[in-house]
Symmetry: C2
Subunit: 212 residues, 2 copies
C-alpha cells in the first residue's frame, strides 16, 4: 500500500507540474473561473482515486474470502468413529463433483484476484487510464458469474445434505456428518461474500469509467 500511495502522490505532483506555482497564483488573481474549474477537476480526480483505493481494498477482502472458502472446502472431510467389517463411513469434499467445482472455482477466483492487484494499483496511480479499468470490469463480470456459480451449486447440494428430499428419496446426510456439514456451510458463506464483493467491484469500475 505504501508504495502505491507514494507513486500516487508522485503522479499527482506530475499532473500538477505544468502550471507552476507562480503562474497559478497569477491565474487566481486574474480569472477566478479558471481556478474553480481546475479545483473541480482535481476534486473529481480525487473522488475517482478514492474509488480506486476502495476497489483495491475490496480486492484484498475478496482474496481472503475466496481463499478461505476454497481452503475450508478443500480440507473438509470427516470419518465417523465406527465402522463395519466392509465399510468405513467417511465424507470428503471430492465425493461430490459439485464441491470439487467449488474448490476449483474459488481457487481460480483467488488467482485472478491476485493477478488483478497490479491493474488495480495502476488505477490508483492514474485514475484516468481507461484501458486497464475496462479490462478489470470485463474480467470482474466474468468472475461474478464464476463465483456465483460455485456458490449457488454448492448451496444447492449443502441444502440437500441438510434437509434431504423425500420426493426424490434423497436422505439428509448431516445427521451423521455434522462437522463436515458445518465446514461446507461455512465455505459457502465465505464464497457468497466473495461473489457479492465482485458485484461491488463491477459497479465501482463502471462509476470510474463513466465520462464526466
Amino acid at each position: 500500500m505504501t508504495t502505491g500511495e507514494e507513486s500516487a502522490s508522485a503522479a499527482k505532483a506530475d499532473v500538477e507540474a505544468p502550471p507552476s506555482t507562480e503562474s497559478r497564483g497569477k491565474a487566481a488573481l486574474g480569472t477566478a473561473a479558471v481556478a474553480t474549474k481546475k479545483r473541480k477537476l482535481q476534486m473529481r480526480g480525487g473522488w475517482k482515486r478514492g474509488l480506486a483505493v476502495f476497489d483495491f481494498i475490496l480486492r484484498l477482502s475478496a482474496i481472503a474470502a475466496a481463499l478461505g472458502a476454497a481452503t475450508a472446502m478443500g480440507t473438509s472431510g470427516e470419518t465417523l468413529p465406527f465402522f463395519t467389517q466392509f465399510f468405513q463411513f467417511q465424507a470428503t469434499y471430492n465425493d461430490l463433483p459439485t464441491f470439487t467445482f467449488f474448490v476449483v472455482g474459488n481457487a481460480i477466483v483467488s488467482g485472478y484476484l491476485v493477478l488483478s492487484l497490479p491493474f488495480s494499483i495502476v488505477g490508483i496511480v492514474r485514475p484516468t487510464i481507461v484501458g486497464a479499468r475496462l479490462l478489470l470490469l470485463i474480467f470482474d463480470t466474468v468472475m461474478v458469474a464464476l463465483a456465483t456459480a460455485s456458490t449457488a451449486s454448492a448451496t444447492a447440494i449443502v441444502y440437500l445434505a441438510h434437509n434431504g428430499n423425500s420426493s426424490a428419496n434423497w436422505i439428509a446426510i448431516c445427521q451423521q456428518f455434522n462437522d463436515f456439514c458445518q465446514r461446507i456451510s461455512g465455505a459457502v458463506v465465505a464464497s457468497s461474500i466473495a461473489a457479492f464483493i465482485f458485484i461491488l467491484l463491477v459497479i465501482i469500475s463502471a462509476m470510474i469509467l463513466r465520462k464526466h
Copy 2:
C-alpha cells in the same frame, strides 16, 4: 423497433442541426481539421449507437431464453403410468426447492428485461446519456448473479438426478423420470444462455460508458 429507429434518426438530425449545411460547407472549404474532428465525433456516436442497438437485440434474445427456461421448468412434471395401492409415482418441479428458485429467478430476470427495454431504447436514441446506461449496467450486473445462481443451483440438482451419488447414497431418478429430466435439462441450458447474454450486456454497457 421502427419507432425507436425513427426517433433515433430524428435525434441524429437534431444533433446535426446547429451547424447548417451552408456553414458546414464553409468550414470544409476553410479549415479541414474542424470537419475531420466533427466526422470523427459522428463516427464515434454511430459506433456507440450500433452497440446500443445490439444491446437492445440481445435483451430481446435474453427475454426469450429466460422466459423459455421458466416456462419449461414451470410446466415440467411427469406421472409414471404405474402405481401401488398407497403411492403414485410423480415428479414435478416444486418437489425440489432449487427448481422453485429456478422458476422464480428466471421469472424475475424476464420481468427485469422487459422493464429495461425502454432504458435500452433511450440508449439508442441518445447514446451520450450516462445515467440510464449506468443504471442498466448496475442492474445487469446484479442480474448476471441472479441468472447464474438459478442456472448453477439447478444444474447441480439436474446432475444429481442424472448420475446420483453413491457416497451420499442418493439415487439417480432419471431412469424412472426420463421425460422430466429431459425437460429440466433443457430449461437449464436456456437459462445458461440468458446468463451468458447478461455478461455480454454488462460488457457492452461498459464500452458505451467509457470516455473518449
